[in-house]
Amino acid sequence: MRREVPLIITFIVGMIILLAAIFTSSDGSPFTLKIWADELTDWVIIVSAFAVGLASVNLFRIHGDIIARQRPGWINSLTLLLAIIVFTIVGIIARVGSNEFFDTLNQNLYDSIISPLGAAMFAILAFYNASAAYRAFRMRSLEATIMLVAAILVMLGKAPIGELIWSQFPSISTWLMDVPNTVGQRAIMIGAAIGGFATSLRILLGIERGHLGGTE
């Protein structure tokens, strides 16, 4: 029963969502299946909200243990937990209490700490990309040469200086993005969608049971 009940629930819920998306009422008004599907989708939102809380509890358990045992890097764990506590307290008071001081503090903490840190992380990627492009883009084969030439044309087409060098770079870049890129992306998307549909069908029919946990 521990296996059968979740499988039956998965099948029923999956079929409700699937059929509600396929069928429609003659006058466009909500019909029973659609109402059930909407209710179930609302549950997903509620469960997702709980997942945020659950993740926080989990973080406290794991990092609390690291701090208590003073394992290597415990100071990082302490910083993480302190940040969670401070941001949670300030955020709750700012939002629920509508307190102007905490509201400003909340926004300032975000603008002055999280925003620059996040932007710095993203900016670091530019340096890795530059180094990786220099090392990886070598004309070792025909395929590599095509990729290299396409990359350079798109880079020149997207940067204003490219147009200054030759006015046709943006047009070539746009064509590369609109035609070969779109064709390739569409093929990947359609392939992934068919794969996703097949996997969903296997889950609905109980052939795929990974979501139940365990090794089966």
Binding site: F122, F127, F137, L148, P160, D178
Partner: protein, 271 residues
């Protein structure tokens, strides 16, 4: 000559040169002219055609990491809509989104624009794709209170809004998933909303099929998209200034690629 050395230049040299190539134009802009793409012009025309008093929904689906590439587009479009007297409502399916909404609002509140009348921040809705679907079909049913804890039904800007079709346009500012694909799949396709998007540069290739299919009416790609929008608008802003840095950064990377390949061939020839 040792061509191997030129194929393996120390990464620290690359980093230093890239810092210089991007930092110098930020301090002393070169003023390289920016042409505008058909996408930016189409985006601008769609926004410009929205009459004053209408409302546009911004879905702020990005975090601080992607913000430098997508937030400038939100700033540029917001500026255009505020100038036109079009209301803007924010929603986010990324937890960081509401804070960017507050950032966008801040300067306009200081100029005398009124929260709840000219704009509103509905906050963050967890649940990813499922949340986008339900919000798209039933805006007020999904968000009872806004980010500032006001009842949504009490906000003048939300009067007459039932689902996302009641907005003159919906724009997803996206740095990944959930984002453009989920909006197209769950809302644009079923409700046929007027849907536009702005995304980080790396997401442009994945988004192009939706643009070419007409599901995304127009797309602003990365900071270049924002710079083009500012240029079409005739009000060059921070994005235009940053494009010089991007130009020199791209040129430097291309130069390194060429050096690496020339050294590779000469090394092969020497053997």
């Amino acid at each position: 000559m040792d061509w191997k050395k030129l194929q393996n230049i120390d990464r620290r040299i690359i980093y230093i040169l890239l810092i210089l190539a991007t930092a110098i134009p930020m301090i002393k802009p070169l003023g390289i002219p920016i042409s505008t793409s058909a996408q930016a012009e189409k985006f601008f025309n769609i926004m410009d055609a929205i009459p004053a008093g209408e409302k546009v929904l911004f879905s702020l689906d990005y975090a601080p990491s992607g913000a430098p590439d997508v937030h400038p587009s939100a700033m540029a479009v917001m500026r255009h809509l505020m100038d036109k007297g079009v209301g803007v409502v924010f929603i986010a399916f990324w937890d960081a989104g509401p804070m960017f909404g507050e950032q966008l609002i801040k300067s306009y509140e200081e100029q005398g624009f009124e929260y709840g009348v000219h704009f509103a921040n509905l906050g963050y809705l967890p649940g990813g794709e499922s949340a986008i679907k339900r919000f798209g079909e039933d805006v007020v049913g999904q968000v009872s209170r806004d980010f500032r804890n006001n009842p949504v039904s009490s906000l003048p800007i939300m009067q007459g809004i039932k689902d996302t079709r009641d907005f003159a346009a919906v724009i997803d500012f996206s740095a990944g998933n959930p984002g453009i694909q989920e909006w197209v799949r769950q809302v644009q396709g079923t409700l046929d909303i007027n849907f536009l998007a702005a995304c980080v540069t790396v997401s442009v290739p994945q988004t192009m099929p939706f643009v070419n299919a007409g599901q995304v009416k127009a797309l602003l790609g990365g900071m270049r998209g924002a710079a083009e929008y500012e240029t079409v608008m005739g009000k060059p802003g921070p994005s235009v200034a940053k494009m010089d840095a991007q130009s020199l950064g791209h040129l430097l990377i291309i130069a390194f690629i060429i050096v690496g390949n020339v050294a590779f061939f000469l090394d092969k020839k020497a053997k």
